[in-house]
Symmetry: none
Subunit: 191 residues, 2 copies
């Protein structure tokens, strides 16, 4: 079938089939910046305003929307957490009947290997530090502060909060001077 044999999303050329392609794919520069923020800066909890800022900036490197940035951060966080969770050792107990159909031996093979205690064990939870670090609030850098676009976090799209408006939400007109620093990037995927 038409399973393979397709070459889409590329970096070199932003082939936006305008309508045919629905799923966003970060261009290398966008990915580099996003990763730089997340890993190098430890910036993991962008506010809606900051998402807009980031998105606006990333638009230079290819088509992108707020929700893409939002999802990107969400997914990365979720997957890192999930990874930790899966590495965690299972408590005890568990009697999954995995021995069906086997030959005879009706004994629990796994026996007592579940006593292995890794590094986590108890602090894998949230807020227990270690897994989730926060930088919201007043996280300042002490590197070269280079203001990219000292603009005011305005409503770029004007559709962020159509439901619960009224001003009760979040401040709103808060000026955010998003300055990014990507002196060092984490990885250079692709070879």
């Amino acid at each position: 079938m038409e399973q393979q044999t397709q070459q889409q999303i590329e970096d070199g050329g932003n082939n936006q089939a305008a309508g045919t392609n629905n799923r966003w794919a970060p261009t290398p520069p966008q990915l580099r910046i996003l990763k730089g923020l997340y890993y190098d800066k430890g910036f993991k909890y962008p506010t809606p305003e900051q998402i807009q800022e980031i998105c606006l900036h990333l638009k230079q490197y290819g088509q992108i929307e707020d929700k893409n940035v939002f999802f990107w951060f969400q997914n990365l966080k979720a997957r890192e957490r999930q990874k930790l969770k899966e590495f965690r050792n299972v408590p005890v107990g568990g009697s999954l009947d995995l021995n069906f159909g086997s030959t005879g031996s009706t004994s629990h093979d796994r026996s007592t290997d579940r006593s292995i205690d890794l590094n986590f064990g108890s602090r894998v939870g949230y807020g227990a530090d270690g897994s989730i670090m926060e930088q919201r609030g007043e996280y300042h850098q002490e590197i070269e502060t280079l203001p990219l676009f000292p603009m005011h976090g305005e409503d770029i799209l004007g559709n962020m909060k159509t439901t619960s408006e009224g001003g009760g939400g979040y401040g709103g007109g808060s000026h955010i001077s998003l300055e990014l620093s990507l002196n060092s990037y984490r990885d250079a995927d692709m070879a």
Copy 2:
């Protein structure tokens, strides 16, 4: 993670080098057990804990990791759905069924309903209001008579975290200053 940096396959030459990717392949015993769980037991939604349990057990039959088990279930589910969808797309001639709003019979788990809303206006819960609404305390694993865990059932149920946004809302101190010392060189994107 960086795997979709594929380049044009029309280069006509050698692409894709380095074959250090050893992808897991289930051994016969492992496959038998996995299939037994999925088909015979109807066990299709393993929790992270159960994944570990299964994985640990399968280790006796060959090298395997949690993520392998995770992906195995994910793929199997996805492909069964995909298969069903293909059959459903048979050229029916002109039988356009626009029966929206009913038929609610058989399957309607929580999918197949993809509504393409590219507007992204009010749905994406940034958690702007903070506070996680509800925390699913029940998995709908319709296991027939499989006593997965006749012991405990906590963990996933207890998810209380009130430090999700920490930053004290987005309205107030969104004075995060990142930095960006990017070189304003735009690669080739955004032609």
